[in-house]
């Protein structure tokens, strides 16, 4: 199974099992800025043990789910990794955490249309807020590049009141301001 088919299939199973989800990570930043290659699709899901077991049953054997849970230290989120066999592509299932921004962005997720079905995606504001938090705590160069590109490509549609509220809470307001100074003048967002 190719990666695209595997992800679409996974999202269909989540819908069938009524497991609420949203696409986060690179596939969500690609929605609001220039695309880049990514070797995994990240999904936040809200599930019970029973429904997750059923999800695993439906995905295997072509999508193999590692039962070992790993813990991410930036926002305190647990995840399971699934591998699309013979491709090297991974689908990562992050549990919806108790983190207040994680909960809020899940409420605000929105649908995009893809080949006759709908896909739940985190919003552009939440991409920016989340990426800033990762830059502050994990210092990954690609997160910085993503924020620059998303701010430039989506500057006309960003709800700045919402972004400012969370960057104040996360201590990332200065970081956001400094990133904006690196953008070409005509691509800098108007935050007023």
């Amino acid at each position: 199974m190719k990666p695209e088919a595997a992800v679409v299939y996974t999202l269909q199973i989540l819908e069938e099992l009524k497991i609420p989800y949203m696409v986060v990570g690179s596939f969500s930043s690609n929605q609001y800025g220039p695309s880049r290659s990514t070797k995994d699709a990240d999904l936040v899901i809200q599930h019970s043990s029973d429904t997750f077991r059923e999800l695993i049953r439906r995905l295997e054997p072509e999508i193999k789910v590692d039962r070992q849970i790993s813990f991410e230290s930036v926002t305190g989120t647990a995840r399971n990794i699934a591998t699309v066999v013979k491709t090297g592509f991974q689908i990562e299932f992050f549990r919806l955490s108790k983190d207040s921004h994680d909960l809020r962005r899940f409420e605000r997720r929105k649908k995009i249309h893809f080949e006759g079905s709908s896909i739940w995606m985190q919003t552009v504001e939440d991409v920016v807020i989340t990426k800033l938090r990762w830059i502050l705590n994990a210092d990954r160069p690609r997160d910085l590049a993503d924020v620059r590109e998303v701010l430039s490509a989506s500057r006309d549609v960003i709800d700045w009141d919402y972004v400012n509220q969370w960057t104040d809470q996360h201590g990332t307001s200065d970081l956001l301001a400094s990133i904006q100074t690196t953008l070409p003048a005509e691509l800098q967002p108007d935050r007023d």
């Binding site: 929605q31 220039p34 039962r67 790993s70 647990a78 430039s152």
Partner: protein, 99 residues
């Protein structure tokens, strides 16, 4: 990246920055023209393109190996890249192996 509130006064640096800005503008402009579905698909296409390039390199380096072995080397490289990306961020949760 350059803070545009500061001027270095170096013409060579300004020229390089100008070229970088042009590329950046082009990327941003192109992305604005795509539909959400096209953007969603592009992530997969770029992954597959990158894998094809890597496989070509692996085949040239190890012509004596089978295509299955080439694929396994590619998958190992992807796994190693993930380990480097995630160093210090993720750790196994010891007491909860089952969901």
């Amino acid at each position: 990246m350059v803070d545009r509130s500061q001027d270095s006064g170096d013409p060579a640096a300004a020229e390089i920055q100008s070229q970088a800005d042009d590329i950046f503008r082009e990327k941003v402009s192109r992305s604005r023209k795509l539909t959400p579905a096209e953007k969603f698909r592009e992530g997969f296409e770029l992954f597959e393109w990158a894998c094809r390039q890597s496989l070509n390199g692996i085949q040239n380096r190890y012509p004596e190996l089978s295509s299955e072995e080439h694929q396994r080397i590619l998958e190992r490289r992807l796994a190693n890249a993930r380990l480097m990306d995630e160093a210090g961020i993720y750790s196994p949760l010891q007491d909860d192996h089952e969901t």
